[in-house]
């Protein structure tokens, strides 16, 4: 594992070098406080020191809209469109988003490995980057620190004069071929810390969640919730999708389209005949939080919340997943004290 140094002044050259090899996707500024992963056209437009992007890299592997089938209504036949492999470098990915990719991988691999997802995902190379936690990040509480290199081929650690470059895989090594990085080892800067925390370890949280089904917090947290589904859209581990047929205006052909769906939407559990299994917003909120901290962690042994803070940062009603969870933690501990 080699370590190099990238001076800030050479950052654009580094990006330009990567672009000679592959398409490169990186965070770009999209508004005063918004950032988004987009394909780089101009190296200087890349922002490597950013708090979080609105959406994660999920959109490249599981597009928000995707054609599953193309059908001909005249012949009543359908074919799946060919999916082109998409080798690309994802530059400037935070550790929690790489953790989220591992969870998406699991969903689309286990049981029935899905061709669509795997074809898009296979050629991905990741250059991770450290970040300064803001008031919404709490990834430390789910065991993912800002310097976690897991999943990265190359990792960049922020330094006052540029970036410390850790090369972690042969593919990462290969990416650097033909680009001269400084080889002087610099001491890693002081570690940055989280200001937002869930106050118990994961194992304990699992028990607390298990006992929380009838807790008043679900109703309370849902009082202002409009069930808009923004938290689902911005979540890097939400993978639920809906499938709908779209018919061309000529009415002789069309396509079957998969789109992102969200468990906060009322229609999510609706079956033919009108039965809705999670009718109340509170039940949907409970499902969402349980899904991140209980249901999927029971099934996979990992929390499905990666602590990015997006659902809280972008909630249109100011609902905080950390506050919900910590409220459960506080009440569980209070109860314990009373019983003790």
């Amino acid at each position: 594992m080699a370590q190099h140094f990238l001076e800030q002044a050479k950052a654009d050259d580094f990006v330009a070098h990567l672009m000679k090899r592959h398409p490169v996707l990186a965070p770009h500024r999209r508004g005063r406080r918004s950032f988004a992963f987009e394909q780089i056209v101009e190296p200087s437009a890349v922002v490597l020191d950013y708090p979080r992007t609105l959406g994660s890299v999920k959109k490249f592997f599981l597009p928000a809209r995707e054609t599953l089938l193309e059908f001909d209504l005249g012949t009543n036949t359908a074919t799946a469109p060919a999916i082109a492999p998409a080798p690309a470098v994802y530059l400037g990915v935070h550790s929690y988003d790489l953790a989220a990719v591992r969870r998406l991988d699991h969903n689309f691999l286990h049981g029935n490995p899905e061709r669509n997802y795997v074809t898009r995902r296979e050629g991905a190379l990741f250059i991770g980057v450290s970040y300064t936690p803001d008031r919404h990040h709490f990834a430390g509480s789910v065991g993912i620190d800002p310097y976690d290199t897991t999943g990265s081929d190359i990792f960049l650690t922020k330094h006052p004069e540029g970036w410390i470059v850790d090369v972690l895989t042969p593919a990462g090594q290969d990416l650097l071929k033909g680009f001269k990085l400084a080889t002087d080892a610099r001491p890693k800067p002081k570690r940055e810390h989280f200001t937002q925390h869930i106050y118990v370890p994961q194992a304990r949280l699992n028990e607390i969640m298990a006992a929380s089904y009838n807790h008043p917090v679900w109703d309370e947290a849902s009082r202002n919730c409009t069930g808009c589904g923004t938290c689902n859209l911005v979540c890097p581990t939400c993978y639920c999708f809906d499938v709908q047929d779209q018919v061309a205006i000529t009415v002789d052909a069309g396509h079957r389209e998969r789109t992102w769906d969200g468990c906060m939407l009322r229609s999510f559990t609706e079956v033919a005949g009108g039965e809705v299994f999670r009718h109340k917003v509170a039940a949907r909120q409970r499902h969402r939080v349980h899904r991140k901290f209980k249901y999927l962690s029971d099934a996979t042994g990992q929390p499905w919340c990666v602590g990015c803070g997006r659902c809280t940062a972008y909630c249109t009603a100011g609902i905080s997943i950390v506050e919900i969870v910590n409220r459960l933690v506080r009440d569980a501990e209070r109860e314990e004290q009373v019983t003790a």
Partner: protein
């Protein structure tokens, strides 16, 4: 369980392309329900277990999960009893023999018939819940000597909504089937029992340790049927139930049919009651 990770050379599957199957017969069951007989290319067997489902595809309309109503003992074709309740089933209602529809599946765990073999089989079916249970009932009838008694409790909203009336009549006559039926509200012509499905249970004479039960019906029914069966003394471990949820993909990817840490399309639709008791969202 560990998270599955991407490895080079991984075998992937095309999960969403349906196979085209031909409707060979259409039989009207009631004003709302129709039975479709469907043949896969070359008359290949669907290869399902009783209680499994398929995703039915009409291009331009969409896909819907539909349970298989015929027993796997019926070769070459399979049947689906479909209620007109949504867009797809409404369009399907206009389809006759010769039309082709897309099929993906079979999906779900289905009924583990080994748990029933050698035992008395009790089927409790409410309304359209009879459609999937019919696959099990006919499986037992076609392998009659491998099972003990076959007891069927069927409840319907009214006698005009009873499904498979010719088969119900045959079950009634069959000395090896104990068939009980009740309707919530009978028409003037109805001479049978009136009352909800749970009223059929107290009168049953069951060999409790040797009876295995499968329940299928509308969501509201399960709790009451289970309470009545428990009141009767039937142990939970002898009870299975088939649940309905929105199942969009059938292959454990789309997230819609989640009940706690399980997916109905993978771990269900047939659940063992002791497992279900741990799932808060199930009933």
């Amino acid at each position: 369980m560990e998270l599955q990770t991407l490895k080079p050379g991984l075998e992937t599957r095309e999960l969403y392309v349906p196979e085209m199957a031909e409707i060979t017969a259409v039989r009207r069951l009631t004003a709302m329900e129709t039975l479709y007989t469907v043949k896969l290319p070359g008359g290949r067997d669907l290869g399902h277990r009783p209680g499994q489902f398929v995703e039915v595809s009409l291009f331009g309309v969409g896909e819907a999960p539909i349970s298989v109503s015929s027993s796997p003992t019926r070769r070459g074709e399979f049947e689906m009893g479909i209620r007109r309740v949504g867009m797809l089933t409404e369009v399907l209602a206009g389809y006759g023999p010769g039309r082709k529809i897309g099929i993906r599946g079979p999906f779900g765990n289905g009924i583990d018939v080994e748990k029933f073999r050698g035992k008395d089989v009790l089927i409790v079916a409410g309304g359209i819940g009879l459609v999937p249970m019919r696959s099990m009932i006919n499986y037992v009838r076609d392998n009659r000597d491998q099972f003990g008694r076959l007891i069927i409790c069927y409840g319907s909203r009214s006698d005009t909504e009873l499904l498979f009336t010719d088969e119900l009549a045959a079950w009634e006559k069959d000395p090896r089937v104990e068939y009980h039926v009740t309707v919530d509200r009978g028409s003037e012509a109805w001479q049978g029992r009136t009352g909800v499905i749970t009223t059929l249970i107290p009168g049953l004479d069951l060999d409790l340790p040797n009876t295995v039960c499968c329940i299928c019906g509308p969501p509201v029914m399960y709790r009451f049927v289970v309470l009545t069966l428990r009141g009767k003394g039937l142990p939970d471990r002898n009870i299975y139930m088939s649940l309905e949820r929105r199942m969009k993909c059938g292959v454990g990817k789309c997230g819609h049919c989640q009940i706690d840490s399980t997916y109905v399309c993978q771990d269900g639709p047939v659940y063992h009651l002791p497992d279900l008791a741990k799932l808060r969202e199930a009933l």
